[in-house]
C-alpha cells in the first residue's frame, strides 16, 4: 500500500521540527542493507543516544553488548570516552573489534550519578568520536538530558545497559529518550568443517527505533574493522538458512 501524500507530508514536517536544533543529521551506516534499510536515514544517527543491552546472561555481563558498541565506536572518527563503574572490560577484545587502544580513554566513575555526569560531559564536549557508558538505571530524565547533549554536539552516545540482578533488567522496557534500543544475544557460532568455535554470531534485536519499526536480525559478530556481517547461509536467501542450523533459546 502506498502511503498517502498527507501522511508523508506530515512525516516530513515532523522530521523538520525534530531536526531544528540539530547541527548534523549525519548517520553511521552498518554497511549491511538488511539493517540499514530499517533505520531512518540509513544508519545510526550520530548526534543521538542509542541503548544496547545483552540478552540472556548478557544482562549481567554485557559482553556481547560491549563488543557491539566497540564495533560501532571503531567505525567513528576520533577518540572514544568509555565510562564504567566496574572495570572488567578487557581491552585486547576491543582492539580485536577494531577499536585501537590509543583511541579509548577510560573513565572509572565511583557510582551511577557521577557516571551519568561524566557521560553527559563527554557528549557535550563535541570533540570526541563517541561516548560509551555502562549504566544500570537510565530514567527518562537522564536519557532526555543525554539525548539533548548528544544532539547539541553531534557526538554519538552509546549506553550499554548492564544490571546487577537478572530481574532488574525488566526496566529495559521502560520508555526513554534514546533514538534506538538494541538487544544483542549470543547465538551458536558459525559452523566449521573441523572441531572448533567459528566466528561468533549474535541475534540483534532492534527493540525500539524512533521514526522506524522494530526488527531482528541474525548477524556475525564484529570483524577486525568493527563491521558486522550477514551469515553466509542467510545471504543466499531464507530458504537456504532453514536447514542445518539450530535455533537458539533466548
Amino acid at each position: 500500500m502506498r502511503p498517502s501524500p498527507v501522511l508523508s507530508s506530515l512525516r516530513a514536517r515532523v522530521r523538520q521540527i525534530e531536526s531544528a536544533g540539530r547541527r548534523t543529521a549525519a548517520v553511521l551506516p552498518f554497511g549491511l542493507d538488511a539493517i540499514d534499510s530499517r533505520l531512518p536515514g540509513g544508519g545510526l544517527v550520530l548526534g543521538a543516544l542509542h541503548e544496547v543491552a545483552g540478552g540472556g546472561d548478557g544482562v549481567l555481563d554485557g559482553a556481547a553488548a560491549a563488543l557491539f558498541a566497540a564495533g560501532i565506536a571503531a567505525r567513528t572518527r576520533g577518540q572514544i570516552l568509555w565510562c564504567v563503574t566496574r572495570p572488567d572490560l578487557f581491552a585486547p577484545a576491543l582492539a580485536q573489534a577494531g577499536l585501537a587502544p590509543d583511541r579509548v580513554i577510560y573513565v572509572e566513575a565511583g557510582d551511577e550519578p557521577s557516571l551519568l555526569a561524566c557521560f553527559e560531559e563527554g557528549l557535550r564536549h563535541g570533540g570526541l568520536g563517541g561516548v560509551v557508558a555502562e549504566v544500570a538505571r537510565l530514567p527518562m530524565t537522564a536519557s532526555r538530558r543525554l539525548q539533548l547533549a548528544a544532539e547539541g554536539s553531534g557526538t554519538l552516545g552509546l549506553a550499554i545497559r548492564r544490571w546487577r540482578r537478572m530481574d532488574a533488567a525488566a526496566e529495559f522496557g521502560q520508555p526513554g529518550a534514546a533514538m534506538t534500543r538494541w538487544r544483542v544475544g549470543a547465538l551458536p557460532a558459525a559452523p566449521l568443517p573441523v572441531p572448533g568455535v567459528g566466528r561468533a554470531r549474535w541475534r540483534l534485536e532492534l527493540l525500539r527505533c524512533r521514526a522506524g519499526e522494530s526488527a531482528d536480525f541474525e548477524v556475525e559478530a564484529c570483524d577486525a574493522q568493527g563491521c558486522l556481517a550477514v551469515p553466509a547461509a542467510l545471504a543466499d536467501g531464507p530458504a537456504a538458512a532453514a536447514d542445518g542450523r539450530r535455533r537458539a533459546a533466548g
Partner: protein
C-alpha cells in the same frame, strides 16, 4: 657536606646548648640503637659510643628546610600547608585529596616520595589539627586515615604526651596518675586548670576538635597571586561565582604577561570567623583560558561553606609552566585534532585523575598482566595486542573455579558448572598454553595455564583454563577456572 660527610651507617648526633651545658639534641636511628638519646650530655655520648659522629645543631637551617618542605607539600598536595616546628608539617587536605586519588592514596604517595628523599615520615589524617598531630606521632601506623567523626575516639587511648604540652606538665600529669588522654578528658576541668594553667584545656579542646586552630599557610615566594577583599562579607553562591570569574580574569592577565600557564590553582576563601576554606584544581596541560579555569573552579564551589560570610578571596598559582604560542594545524588540508584537555580536566576534577586513563599493551602472555594504565593524553603508542587468538570482552578480576567433567590431559571439559548453572559444552577451541613468568616469581617457575574457548548449547561463549598441563602436578593444581566471557 661533601668529603667531610660521615659514613652513612655511623651513628650521628646533633649537639647544641641547653642552658650552660652541651647536650645531645637529636640522634639518628643508628645512634638510638647504640643507646643514645636526646638530653644526654655531649661528652657522655662521645664516651658511650666511641665512633659517633658529632655535628652542631643548626635550628635556623632546620626551620628553613622545613619551610621548603612545606612549600613542596603546597605545590603537590594541598592549598593550605605550613611548617609545624620542630619536626612536622601540617596540611589541610580538605578539597584537594581528590586530585591524588583519595586521602589514603595521597598519604601513601607523600610518605613514599619523602622516603625516596631519605626522609622517614609518618602521617595521619584526622578531623582537627591537634588530633592529626597526635595520631601521626603516637598513632602507631606510618599512614593513618581516621574516618570523619572518629578522631576524638581514636585520641582517647593515646598518652598524654601527644597533646603538645610542655615536658614538665606531662611529668606533672603523669605524677597525678593521668596516663592517657581519655582519663584527662573524663576528669573535671576546673581543678586541672587551677593546677596546670589554661594551656592544658586549650590543647585538649584543640585535639578533640572543640576549638579552632587556624593554619597560617606558606605562600610561594614569587608566586602569582590575586586577591579581593570585600567591604561586606559575601555568602551567595552567585556572588562567589562572579568574584571567582573576576579573579580568574585578573590572574590570566598576569599569567599572559609572564608567558605562563597554570597547572594547579588554589582559590582560598577567608571567612569572617578566621577560617580558611579552599578549592584546588589541577589541569593536564598549562592553561590560561579564563573561561575554562572559571568553569573548573565553579564546578567545585558547592564544596565551600561560606557560613557567616567571606571577607577575602585569593587565587594563587601553585604550579605554573611556560605556555607560549603553539602551532595548531600543520597542513591546510589536515583537520584540526580535537583538544580534549579541557574535558579531561573537568572529569579529573570531578572523579580524580587516577580514575581517568588509557590502556597500553604490555608484552606479557598472562592476560591480567598484558595491559598497563597510561595518562589519558599521553602520546599515542601505536601498539596493540597480538591478535592471533580471540580474547574475551569481559575478564573476571579473579578467575572463578568451576566444576567440570573433562578428559585429561588435553581435552576441553564436556560439562561445567559455573555460578550454580550447569552447561554442556557444544564446541571448544584450544588449548592455548600460557607459561608462567619465571623471572617474576619462583612460584611461576613451571606454572602452566591451558586456555580453552568454549561455547555452550545456547551459544554463550566463555574463556576457561586449567591450572597445569593435565599431567604434571608441578605445573599447577589441575583445577579448572573460568576467566572471561566472550560476546
Amino acid at each position: 657536606m661533601g668529603a667531610a660527610a660521615p659514613p652513612v651507617d655511623a651513628p650521628l648526633v646533633l649537639i647544641g646548648r641547653a642552658g650552660r651545658r652541651r647536650v645531645v639534641l637529636a640522634v639518628d636511628a643508628a645512634a638510638a640503637r647504640a643507646g643514645l638519646r636526646p638530653g644526654l650530655p655531649a661528652a657522655m655520648a662521645q664516651a658511650l659510643v666511641p665512633g659517633v659522629a658529632v655535628h652542631p645543631a643548626d635550628p635556623a637551617a632546620d626551620a628553613e628546610a622545613l619551610d621548603r618542605l612545606a612549600l613542596w607539600a603546597l605545590q603537590r598536595y594541598a592549598p593550605l600547608a605550613a611548617a609545624d616546628p620542630p619536626d612536622g608539617l601540617i596540611i589541610d587536605m580538605s578539597g584537594a585529596a581528590h586530585l591524588r586519588g583519595g586521602e589514603g592514596a595521597a598519604l601513601a604517595d607523600m610518605i613514599g616520595r619523602l622516603a625516596a628523599c631519605r626522609i622517614a615520615a609518618r602521617a595521619a589524617l584526622a578531623d582537627s589539627r591537634g588530633a592529626a598531630h597526635a595520631l601521626a606521632r603516637y598513632g602507631g601506623r606510618p599512614a593513618l586515615v581516621v574516618a570523619p567523626g572518629q578522631s576524638a575516639a581514636a585520641l582517647l587511648a593515646l598518652p598524654v604526651a601527644a597533646l603538645r604540652l610542655p615536658e614538665e606538665m606531662v611529668e606533672g600529669l603523669r605524677g597525678l596518675g593521668f596516663a592517657h588522654i581519655g582519663e584527662l578528658a573524663a576528669s573535671p576541668r576546673a581543678p586541672l586548670v587551677l593546677r596546670f594553667g589554661p594551656d592544658l584545656g586549650r590543647r585538649l579542646d584543640q585535639a578533640l576538635g572543640r576549638r579552632d586552630e587556624p593554619i597560617d599557610p606558606v605562600r610561594p615566594p614569587d608566586g602569582i597571586e590575586v586577591r579581593r577583599a570585600f567591604a561586606e562579607p559575601i555568602t551567595a553562591a552567585e556572588a562567589l561565582a562572579r568574584q571567582t570569574g573576576i579573579l580568574v580574569a585578573d590572574l590570566c592577565a598576569r599569567l599572559a604577561a609572564a608567558g605562563l600557564g597554570a597547572r594547579r590553582l588554589d582559590l582560598l576563601f577567608h571567612r569572617v570567623d578566621n577560617r580558611i576554606q579552599s578549592i584546588r584544581i589541577g589541569t593536564v596541560r598549562p592553561v590560561r583560558d579564563a573561561r575554562r579555569l572559571t568553569r573548573l573552579l565553579c564546578d567545585r564551589l558547592e564544596t565551600i561553606d561560606p557560613d557567616f560570610g567571606i571577607e577575602i578571596m585569593s587565587l594563587s598559582v601553585a604550579l605554573a609552566e611556560p605556555l607560549g604560542p603553539r602551532q595548531m594545524v600543520s597542513a591546510l588540508a589536515a583537520e584540526p585534532e580535537a583538544d580534549l584537555s579541557g574535558l579531561i580536566d573537568r572529569l579529573a576534577n570531578r572523579i580524580g585523575a587516577a580514575r581517568l586513563y588509557r590502556l597500553a599493551p604490555v608484552a606479557s602472555d598472562v592476560p591480567e598482566r598484558s595491559l598497563r594504565r597510561i595518562a589519558p593524553l599521553a602520546p599515542p603508542t601505536g601498539e596493540t595486542w597480538p591478535g592471533h587468538w580471540p580474547r574475551p570482552s569481559r575478564l573476571l578480576a579473579r578467575p572463578e573455579p568451576i566444576a567440570t567433567v573433562a578428559l585429561l590431559p588435553d581435552h576441553p571439559p564436556a560439562r561445567f558448572t559455573w555460578r550454580g548453572v550447569s552447561r554442556r559444552v557444544a564446541r571448544a577451541d584450544g588449548p592455548e598454553r600460557i607459561f608462567g613468568e619465571w623471572w617474576r616469581r619462583d612460584a611461576e617457575l613451571c606454572a602452566v595455564r591451558d586456555y580453552f574457548r568454549i561455547e555452550d548449547e545456547a551459544g554463550e561463549r566463555f574463556w576457561i583454563y586449567r591450572a597445569g598441563d593435565g599431567e604434571d602436578a608441578a605445573t599447577g593444581s589441575q583445577r579448572w577456572f573460568l576467566h572471561g566471557i566472550f560476546g
